[in-house]
Structure formats: C-alpha cells, structure tokens
Amino acid sequence: MAKPKVAFYWCASCGGCEETVVDLAEAILDVVAAVDIVFWPVALDFKRKDIEAMEDRSIAATFLNGAIRTSEQEEMAHLLRKKSAVLVAFGSCSHLGGIPGLANLFDRDHILKTVYLDAPSAVNPDKIFPAQRSRSNGNTLELPRFQSSVKTLDQVVEVDYYVPGCPPTPRILQKAVQTLLGTDLPPKGTVLAPDSALCEECARKDSKPEKLVIAEFKRPQDILADEQTCLLAQGLVCMGPATRAGCEALCVNGNMPCSGCCGPTSRVQDQGAKILSCLASLIESKEDAGIERAVDTIPDPVGTFYRYGLPGSMLRQKKLNGVQASK
C-alpha cells in the first residue's frame, strides 16, 4: 500500500514553521519513512504543474503555514485545498493571522510610504515605489499586488484542522502528525492541541493567589520578575489564562509572560476580548479615575491582546476611513 502523500507549503510566514519541521530532528526521518513528501519548497524542489496534474484530494494532508496577503497565495490555497483530502492550517499565521496580521491596523499605502519614502536610510528623490507593472530600460517587469489586509487561511478556504503556535513546537507538530496518521480523526475544525488554557500546564500555577487584585500592571522591563511566582501575580500581563495549552509554557519557563501565540481555547470566539475581560476584572479601583490609571498601564491593548490573532479576531482589522467600504 502506497505511503500517504504529504505536502508542506508556506504563504505569508517567516519560515519559523518550516524550522519546526526541521526541528523534528531525528523524528523527521520517521516522518519521511511514514509519508511521501510530495513537496516542500524550502527544502525540496517542486512545481505547481505537478500539483495541478494531481487527482483532487489525492494529497492526504497539506500543512499550510503563513497568512494570506496576495492573490497568488489565495490561488495556491485554493489549489491545495482542491488537491488535499485534509488541509491543515499550520502555525499562528495561517491559524489566526500571526504577527504580520498586526499590519491590519494600517493601510497599504502608508506602509509603502513608510518603507520607501520615510525610512531615514532611504534615498528616493524621485519617489519611486515598487509597482505591479514597471519598465526598466525597455523591459516590463511585474510584481504581485500587496493587498490591503492580512487574512487567516480559513477566511479564504475551508480548513480541516489547525496546528497552533508561533512556531508550533516540534512536540505539538509530532502529536498532530500522529493524530492525522491515526485511525479516528477528531471532528473537523479541531485545533490539534490541548483544549484548556496554558495555566493548566504552567509550572507556576500553584503560586497564583486565589483572590488576585491588581492596582496597576507592570511591563517586563519594570521589574525583576521572580522565577518561581506566577507572572500575572507579579503584575505582568500574561496571556496564559486566555491561551491554549500545548507549548508547555516555554515563554514562562524563560521567565517572560505568555504572549498568546497558540490562540484561544475552542469555546472562545475572541482571545483579546477574553483576556481583556479577565484582566480588567482584577483591577482594584471602583472609580473612573482610578480605573483609568490602571488601564493606562496597558499602553497597547490591541498589540498586546491580539499579538498573533488580529486577522482571526472578531473585528479582524482596524476601521480605516476611506479604506473600509463606505459605498
């Protein structure tokens, strides 16, 4: 019997998810033994024509990492969806939009201006911008269009499973692969990681007081965080309570708060709203002024609560007057 075909593909990502595959280390040899990798652009050569030539759903599973920002990426997503029996959103970017998703707070034109005109090191007297079509001594060159917002994979095509994390830890990936190679598949839409929050597996869980009250929040550089005590109890904004477990609290073990890369648990629709509700409820003051002072100590709620998930959040993107449809 033929080995199941597996594909890895990347859209808008940093390549960190690919590193995870490499970080499977010895285990990668087992994976290679168990499956037939039909393509993997970072490490193997492949071509789109081969994929197009394949039977629909003939790829057992495609692990697609990276968010969607160009129509080219959307096309690939649709193609791979068509050819794959199972499509897995692999890593925070395809799962929730990822850190590049923070670009949804800005519009495309300002990004171009900032990069090519306002950068202090840029020398651009003629105000040249990369263009979809341009001419260079008589030759026409083309670039793909850089769309005005970042989308998650499931906002573009149907997704069967999600593997969370930025990047997913090798352990998470390995378990996910095992699950998918197994006989009884979890229900469609399942995130292949534990379905409780990070505190569940956090080594510092016991050190959190039952009745925590917060007068003001601290930023990591403001305090010398104790290496044993719950970071939230030390006033740091830790996303752990609103973030899916599975990473074994790596960041907390590094003595830094969880920043939420694994996204919310299955019952939660909007990770940011949930941690907001949880943290604000702990504020001490009952007066507007006092509450405002406490709130001031979280200077960037969106960047903090949606670090990895803005495109996948309920609001998805900032309302930009003019850019958002108003016709």
């Binding site: 929050a197 869980k205 925590l212 309570p241 609103a242 648990t265 019952r267 949930k274 409820s281």
Partner: protein, 672 residues
C-alpha cells in the same frame, strides 16, 4: 378564530421545530405593530414550523392555542412575542410545562413595553418586532432543558418597623402560627399612629384601636419583639435569609423591668429637662423614662446623654434603690448583636414628615405659634403634653387658626407629589380645634382631595360647621401688622383664587399641614435588602397594579407608607396583603429558584483562578486536589459575572450561555 400561517420550512428543516406566537394584546401591540406581517415573516425563518398571531396570547384560549400546536406540530421550541417577560414569562412557561415541554424551551420577545408602546412609527416598530423575533428564533434553538431548583423555606418572618402596618402584618402572621421577629428602632412600637388623637373620617380614638393591637404584639408568643433595635445585615436568598440585628442598650434588663416606673419617680431629677421625643419636644422628660403611657414594651429607657451616672459616675442612683431587688437597671449594658434566620421579610419602615424649616416663608421656628400638624396632634391628644388642652405656647387659647395645606407637597421647590393624607387630617384637625376652642378656622388649600369612603361627606360636614376654606397657595406668614387689627397676630397672605384677590388673614395660630417623605435612610435600607426605590425615594413595588406589595427581590415585601403616602386604612390593607403573600410563600414550603446558575466544565477549566474573586457570594472555590475551580450551585445567584471573566469560557451560565447570546445578537443584526 386565529389566523394561521401554514407550516413552513421548519417541517423540512433538521433543527428543532419552532412555534412563534405574536400577541395583539388587544390594540396595545396590534395598534402600532403589524402583527400579521410579523407572524408571516416569522413563518419564513429557518426552523419555524408554525407562526400565528392572536388577540390575547396570555388568555386561556391563547395558551390553549400554543399547547394544541405543541401537540399537533410536535413543537420543541416556542417563541412568544408579547409583553415584557417580567410580566408573563411565568405564564407561558407553565403553559409549556403543562403539555410536557420543558418550560425553558420558551423565549419571550418584548414587543409591547419595548416596542409598540414607545414608538409612533408603525413601520419602524414592525421592523423592530421582526428583528427581535428573528433573534429569539435563532436563540431558542440552542435552549436546553433546565430544572428549577427547589429550596425549603424557613417559616419565620422578619418585620422591619413597628408602625400600624408592621403591627397588623405581624399579628396576621402570628395568628396564622408563623413566628415573627419584629424589629423597631424606637424604644416602643406604635409609629406615627400612636401620636394621633382621633382618626379621620370616623373620628374614632386612635389609641383605642391601636393600643390593643400593640399589647397583643407584646404578648403574642409567636412574636419576638425587639425595640430600640436595627437591622444591620442581610444575606442569603428567598426562603433562607440570615439577618443581623443590633440591639442598642437601654440600660434596663427588659426581662426584669415591670414598667412600674418607680425609678422614673425616684430619679434625682425632680422634673424632666430633656425635650420629649414622643411629644415632639412640646414637653420634657427625665433621663430615665417611658416613651408614653401605653408604650409597648412597657419597659423604661435610660438616656446616657443626660443621665448623671453616665456623665460623672457620682449619681446617688435613687433609681436603682427604687427598683430594689428587681435589679432591672444595668448601667453597664452593652450593645448586642442578634442573628436570626427567616424565610421572608416585610418592610414597613414608614415615612418621615416634611421639615417645614425648608419653607422659611411660613415662619416655622421663627414664630412660636406656627405649629406642624403632628405637633397639633399631640396638643389635641388627651395623653399629650397639655392633656388635650389646645393652648398656645403662652398658654392662651387661640381664637383664630389658619391651616396651610400642601406644605412640602405638590411643590416644585420641595416635593412634587401629593401626600394624600394632608387634606383629610387637616379637616380632622380643623374639626377638633373648632370643637374644642370654638376658634375660627381657615383652611388654605390648592385642591381639596377627599377620595375614599366617607371622606367627601366629612368635608361637607366641615363646610356645614362653618370652617372657612380659602382656595389659594399661601405666600407667607408674617407678624408685621399692616393694620392695627393685625397687631400681635400672625398674618397669612394668600391669593384667594376663587375671589381673585389677595387676602391677609390675621390668626393666633398657624398649622402647617406637612407632607410625607421617604425615611432619610430609605436608600441605605433598600440597599441592605437589595430592592429598588422610585426616583422620589419610596420603595419600588414589583408592579404598581398587579404586585403592589412585592418587590423585585423574591421574598421581600413592602407595606405601608414606605412604599408611598398612605393613610391608615390603606396601610393596614397593604399589611394584610404583604402578610398573605408571605404566608403563601411559606405554606408552599419550597421556593423555586430560577436555574440561571453558572457551571464549570471541569476538564476545560485550567485552574487559572480568574473567576474566584468575581463571586460576591463565595460560591466559587478552588479545589486543590484537582487544581480546578468549582461552583456551589446553592450559593450561586446567577449574575454571570464569573462567566464573562473566564478567559477560556469554561464557565457558562444556564439560559445565558455565550452561544445563546451570540445567536441573539447576530439574529438581531442579520439582514432580513
């Protein structure tokens, strides 16, 4: 015959079959909302098997209609679009229950109070109704079978306030064999009524009808009477309230005091130097005193503010001698805290009379012969400071009296409301004063308000008796004579709006018919008992017509003037009603609590403890063995604050689960 919209996609739909019922409520809804259009629209919604509109859904035939459909169309969910759920949710839930459908498979849509009654534009109101119905249809699909929680009811009742309302309620309950705790902050019960001489319109003697009731309160084995005491804490829930009561020291051991008052006679003070509260300062009392002869309990009180022993510890303590081996006096008595469990509570905390100093132009406090109506009640009272002699402060009998109505009532500058009793008691006082002094009595009124059995007749009688009535609001009371004949008199200036000219009427005595106000501490009290107040500060009833003595807090009832200006008959009637409500609850033995409690799905809980500080009732605890949170359903009151705080949505609230609310919100906004 109700119009039917033929069964629709609901039948072929896979989800539960839904019935939608749109109520006309006569013209209350149908007059503004196109109910037929709403029903027809509902019929097109996914899952809806049948949609109807009907004149009165809450009527028996209306309910029968629903029940019939449940059977015939195998409905699993019901949406009723009618009035506020607070009015008829119970009704329709029962209707479902009777045909074997779980009552919580119902969702009500408020298209009357929130729609037809508040919008003029029928089109907009109809659209709104459609949106609300759509939301309910989407929400109701997710409803789950829930069971109400039954908790036993403690049969004891707490009654706060020992005025006529409290007294009547207490006796009614006690006679029915319920145990009553009555808490009164004054040293005696009796309230305002005890200060009156006669009661309108029958003019029977207040003491004669009140005193027997007071004594039976004192003697009834089913009543624990705590005077000179205040409720300081309330916790728990309907059927199971825990109450803390502070008993102020009266420095008399109540069990030992016989009320013989020998200590009072024996007191080193030959006569009283302290203004007598019961007589509103019209007489003086000693440091040790009995508030008034018929006081219940018949126990004296020592006022530490003025008692020499407390000031200097050098008193001869003649009182102790007088008390002798009864040893009822205890200068070291301390404040005590009693804690009791009751199932129901009746608040009968009464009113405060308006302070006329707020209307300086009537001269109260400046002119000795300007009195409040209550002071006059004492002057007239045979047991009062003057033994019922109506004399001015200089001892003279008044030859002319002016009674000013609506002092602190119907007045934009003080209280807007009509105090309801002033007209009648002014007539009563006018009659009594004319009868006892033969003085000329002038009533200055805005409108005479005499609704009630025998009231208008009483007014007529006074007209015959030659009491003068001047229709007009009094501008001022002055002692500045404009004419020799006014010398040494108080001049009342008022526009006679019937004769249409300004009159100056010189009198010897001015009586201010002061209005009724909420008790100054009404806000604090209602917070303690977790009920609401109207904007004026009166305790708010659950429904002005259908539940006038109930409040929004189950098991807490209100009676008498704490709910609004009342006269004695009304207060007594209300007290009876409150007692009956309490009894109905007690005799049902169990209360059913809404099942809106929060619950944790254990395997989903990460044990982050975020929920624990959310609960004001300590219903959530952290289970160390499991390292997870747990909710005590009995303690949970179902506010849902912990649900909103749970960062992994592992806590949900029955009937208000996240998904149910999401569906409702999205249903409201889904574009038709």
């Amino acid at each position: 015959m109700p119009e039917t919209v033929s069964p629709t996609n609901g039948s072929n739909g896979s989800g539960p079959r839904i019935g939608v019922y749109v109520c006309h409520c006569g013209t209350n809804i149908a007059g503004t909302v196109d109910v037929k259009a709403v029903a027809e629209y509902a019929a097109t919604l996914p899952g809806v098997a049948v949609a109807r509109d009907y004149k009165y859904m809450c009527s028996d035939p209306g309910q029968a209609l629903i029940q019939q459909d449940i059977r015939e169309h195998a409905l699993a969910r019901v949406v009723v679009a009618s009035c506020s759920p607070l009015l008829h949710e119970k009704t329709f839930r029962k209707a479902l229950e009777r045909v074997g459908l779980n009552p919580f498979m119902l969702q009500m849509v408020n298209i009357r109070e929130h729609d037809s009654w508040v919008h003029l534009d029928g089109k907009a109101a109809t659209e709104k109704a459609k949106d609300l119905v759509r939301a309910a249809v989407r929400r109701v699909v997710l409803h789950k079978s829930l069971q109400k929680r039954r908790v036993p009811i403690n049969p004891n009742v707490l009654i706060v306030g020992g005025g006529i309302a409290g007294i009547h309620a207490a006796l009614t309950l006690a006679d029915a064999g319920k145990h009553v705790y009555m808490v009164e902050r004054e040293p005696t019960i009796g309230g305002h009524m005890a200060k009156f001489d006669k009661t309108f319109p029958t003019l029977d003697c207040a003491a004669c009808i009140l005193t027997p009731k007071m004594t039976s309160v004192g003697s009834n084995p089913n009543i624990t009477l705590w005077t000179y005491s205040e409720v300081t804490g309330v916790s728990g829930y309907v059927g199971n309230y825990r109450i803390q009561i502070k008993r102020k020291p009266r420095y008399i051991i109540e069990e030992l005091c016989l009320g013989c008052q020998e200590c009072v006679t024996a007191c080193v003070y030959k006569d009283g130097k302290t203004p007598d509260e019961f007589n509103l300062g019209l007489s003086k009392r000693k440091p040790v005193y009995l508030p008034f002869p018929q006081a219940v309990p018949q126990k004296v009180v020592i006022d530490p503010e003025v008692c020499i022993e407390f000031k200097s510890h050098k008193c001869k303590k003649t009182c102790v001698e007088a008390c002798g081996d009864r040893k009822a006096i205890d200068f070291n008595q301390k404040e005590q805290i009693e804690e009791i469990d009751v199932g129901t509570i009746i608040l009968a905390t009464g009113f405060k009379s308006f302070d006329p100093l707020r209307n300086p132009y009537y001269g109260y406090g400046r002119f000795p012969n300007v009195y409040t109506s209550l002071e006059v009640e004492r002057l007239i009272n045979a047991a009062g400071p003057t033994g019922g002699e109506i004399v001015l402060r200089d001892g003279k009998k008044p030859t002319s009296v002016g009674i000013i109505h609506c002092v602190g009532s119907r007045d934009a500058n003080t209280n807007r409301w009509c105090s309801k009793v002033c007209c009648m008691y002014s007539l009563k006082l006018a009659h009594l004063m004319k009868e006892r002094t033969g003085a000329e009595v002038f009533n200055f009124y805005i409108d005479m308000r005499t609704p009630g059995k025998g009231y208008e007749e009483f007014y007529d009688r006074l007209l015959d008796e030659g009491v003068h009535f001047v229709r007009g609001r009094v501008a001022e009371v002055t002692d500045w004579p404009a004419h020799p004949s006014e010398k040494g008199k108080l001049v009342i200036r008022a526009e006679d709006t019937l004769a249409a000219f300004v009159r100056r009427i010189p009198v010897d005595m001015v009586v201010l018919a002061v209005g009724l106000e909420p008790q100054p501490d009404a806000q604090a009290v209602r917070r303690m008992f977790n009920i609401s107040c109207s904007s004026e500060g009166w305790f708010l009833e659950r429904h002005p017509k259908l539940a006038p003595v109930s409040t929004f807090t189950e098991g807490v009832y209100i009676a008498g003037a704490c709910q609004g200006p009342r006269d004695i008959p009304d207060s007594v009637a209300q007290a009876g009603a409150a007692a009956a409500e309490a009894m109905a609850l007690i005799d049902s033995q169990f209360v059913e609590l809404e099942p809106y409690t929060a619950f944790i799905t254990e395997e989903e809980c990460s044990g982050c403890k975020s929920c624990i500080p959310m609960c004001p009732y300590q219903a959530i605890s952290f289970v160390p063995e499991k390292k997870k949170a747990a909710i005590n359903e009995v303690l949970c009151k179902g506010c849902g604050t912990c649900v909103a705080a749970c960062p992994s949505s592992s806590i949900q609230q029955n009937f208000f689960e996240d998904e149910e609310i999401f569906e409702e919100v999205e249903g409201l906004l889904a574009y038709a």
